[in-house]
């Protein structure tokens, strides 16, 4: 067996409480060198607490944290060798761009010529050469973010921490910055922990995603795995759009289970249904693009009436009412598909659909 490479970050059973509230419960994580890991969850899920624990701004009540193989649980922030980009960038307003970027080098007593060279390199990396003497408030939001990134990277940290760095940028700029950040991160090969509540951002940028809710890590996996094989109903509902349909468990056969919904039978992963008995009602989850339409009367999942159609260019979203379902169903059809409001449809699962089912909660 080949030796596992030393992880850039290891979080072993970390718990943190604030008074009676458990902000983070028994978190375990391993980030291999060079990986881009995203902590994804709604506000209050514990992702920021976990990031602050990794950075050292908070101390865990239980558990240990290792950075690059070294135990850092008791090590103060300034000795952890991390680089961090804050949500508001926290650029020092009284210093020029060059002074901001050089700050961490000065703290490390890097000789002046070397520091100047590295500042120039870092600013070139984020395409801000020529802005050295500007003050932060003279820069646009995107430029401020680049300075914050250069400042965090110039110290060659063992671990890069990003706290919702895109939330203050407008939509167009955000997309461009995401691509650019990922390019820089990959070229430097620096392990990165990225915090966001935006599931689109998490899916598009990450090597792996850790989905969190209520202080717990619900699932860690590649964006594809998170999207196609969610481990529980929270992950299924939080990541991407999803339809919930009433179904019945038919049988469990090893790794897969068979569920019945309307006139259709679908195989789903068995793990989430381990505790359910055959015949019990379950919730079937299908993504909007995994449902096909057919003429009314075709045996399928259910019949539905289109209530609204939203055109998005390459595709259109159909919001459908189906008998006996409280929630509207969402279908994603090609943009040229003709179904409009009032159309009656039969709905069928896509043959290649990755359906999942969970026991009915509560």
């Amino acid at each position: 067996m080949a030796a596992e490479p030393r992880p850039a970050l290891q979080v072993d059973g970390v718990t943190r409480r604030f008074g009676a509230v458990t902000a983070l419960a028994d978190a375990w994580l391993k980030v291999p060198p060079g990986e881009f890991l995203t902590l994804l969850g709604p506000s209050g899920c514990g992702k920021s607490t976990l990031l602050n624990l990794i950075a050292g701004f908070l101390e865990p009540d239980q558990g240990e944290i290792f950075i690059d193989g070294a135990l850092v649980t008791e090590v103060p922030v300034w000795q952890r060798g991390i680089g961090m980009v804050f949500q508001n960038y926290a650029l020092f307003p009284h210093m020029t761009v060059a002074k901001n970027v050089a700050y961490g080098l000065a703290a490390r007593r890097v000789p002046r010529e070397e520091a100047a060279r590295r500042v120039a390199e870092a600013l070139a990396l984020v395409k801000l050469t020529g802005m050295e003497e500007r003050k932060p408030r003279q820069l646009s939001g995107g430029q401020q973010q680049r300075v914050a990134l250069a400042r965090a990277l110039v110290i060659r940290p063992k671990l890069l921490l990003l706290d919702e760095p895109f939330s203050a940028l407008d939509r167009n700029l955000r997309g461009a910055m995401q691509v650019e950040l990922r390019e820089i991160q990959r070229s430097l090969g620096i392990a990165t922990v990225f915090v966001t509540h935006d599931q689109g951002e998490a899916l598009s940028m990450s090597d792996r995603v850790a989905v969190m809710s209520e202080g717990r890590i619900r699932q860690v996996g590649t964006p594809e795995a998170i999207y196609r094989r969610p481990a529980d109903r929270f992950v299924a509902e939080f990541v991407g759009d999803v339809n919930r349909l009433p179904a019945r468990l038919v049988a469990v056969e090893g790794e897969t289970a068979l569920v019945e919904c309307g006139a259709c039978r679908l195989s789903v992963p068995a793990a989430p249904l381990a505790a359910a008995a055959a015949g019990t009602a379950v919730d079937l989850f299908l993504r909007p693009e995994q449902i096909r339409t057919a003429p009314p009367g075709t045996p399928g999942l259910t019949e539905a009436v289109v209530a609204a159609r939203a055109f998005h260019g390459d595709h259109a979203d159909l919001h459908c009412d189906a008998p006996g379902m409280a929630q509207r169903l969402l279908l994603r059809v090609p943009g040229h598909a003709a179904e409009g409001p009032g159309a009656r449809l039969a709905l069928l699962p896509d043959p290649s659909a990755d359906a999942v089912a969970f026991p009915i909660s509560g």
Partner: protein, 282 residues
């Protein structure tokens, strides 16, 4: 505004007060340029003599002493007030915060005379400090605190500290804590991050606090009167002596005017300094 003309009447009390103050100021101003007739409360014609008289060493010394005491007071209240304000802003528990606030601000709610008399019981020859030192056998005879510049400065710092703490705390609480956190994440320990980030960013507060402490101290009367006992005089004491012992109202008025002008000049200089600071950074 035009639709509710009755609102205009609410200005009346304020306007009357302002008028009163303006009249008083005008009276003092015109007194300052009148000749003093010894033995009479009547004043003579226009003269510059009062301002020329101020240049005599006896009075010039008092001015210098006042400025020196103000500077000392401002400096030491800054030195004591900064850590207090910092602790007040950064305290985690509300209980600790309240304790600090009470400690910092209480002197403000004691009258100046009461506060100053309490210093008598501390600094007097048979006061607390000398009593304790004598009892411990550290000194053979009482140390003279009363009627010294040190004693006056000490009491003045006590009076000025709350103002300084409040102004510094206001400035410090406006500094985003993320700056300090960013400095820590970049490898700067507490001392370095304080000196390179927190201190420069609190500079406007330091200037405002120091300026206010200076102006606040310039008008001190009861403290130098009681602790100084006539041996450490500040401008207000001089004004009092000239006005109510010698009945030289014109000279007292001119001293007040110059004191006022000096205070205004110091505040103006600080304002310019703050503006320059704002242009440079923050």
């Amino acid at each position: 505004m035009g639709k509710r003309p009755f609102l205009g009447w609410f200005v009346t009390p304020g306007a009357l007060c302002a008028l009163g103050f303006a009249a008083a100021m005008a009276a003092v101003l015109q007194y300052a340029f009148r000749a003093h007739i010894p033995g009479s409360l009547e004043v003579g014609g226009f003269t510059w003599a009062n301002f020329e008289g101020m240049l005599r060493p006896l009075y010039a010394t008092v001015f210098l002493q006042t400025v020196w005491l103000c500077a000392l007071t401002a400096f030491f209240s800054l030195l004591l007030g900064y850590p207090l304000a910092h602790a007040l802003v950064h305290a985690r528990s509300t209980a600790w915060k309240s304790v600090l606030l009470v400690v910092a601000v209480t002197p403000l709610f004691l009258g100046e005379v009461v506060r100053t008399y309490s210093w008598l019981t501390v600094l007097g020859n048979s006061g607390f400090v000398n009593g304790a030192l004598l009892w411990l056998g550290l000194i053979d005879g009482p140390i003279q605190f009363m009627f010294t510049r040190f004693g006056v400065a000490l009491a003045l710092v006590h009076v000025t500290l709350p103002v300084m703490v409040i102004m510094l705390a206001a400035a410090l609480s406006h500094i985003d804590r993320d700056y300090e956190r960013a400095a820590h994440s970049l490898g700067a320990g507490p001392v370095r991050s304080f000196l390179t980030v927190t201190l420069p960013l609190s500079m406007p507060g330091i200037l405002a606090g120091t300026g206010t402490a200076f102006a606040w101290t310039f008008s001190a009367f009861a403290t130098p009167q009681i602790i100084g006992g006539g041996r450490v005089n500040m401008v207000s004491n001089l004004v009092y002596q000239l006005g109510f012992s010698s009945f030289n109202f014109p000279f007292a008025a001119s001293l007040s005017i110059v004191g006022l002008a000096l205070t205004a000049a110091v505040l103006g200089l600080l304002r310019i300094g703050t503006m320059r600071l704002e242009r440079v950074g923050t």
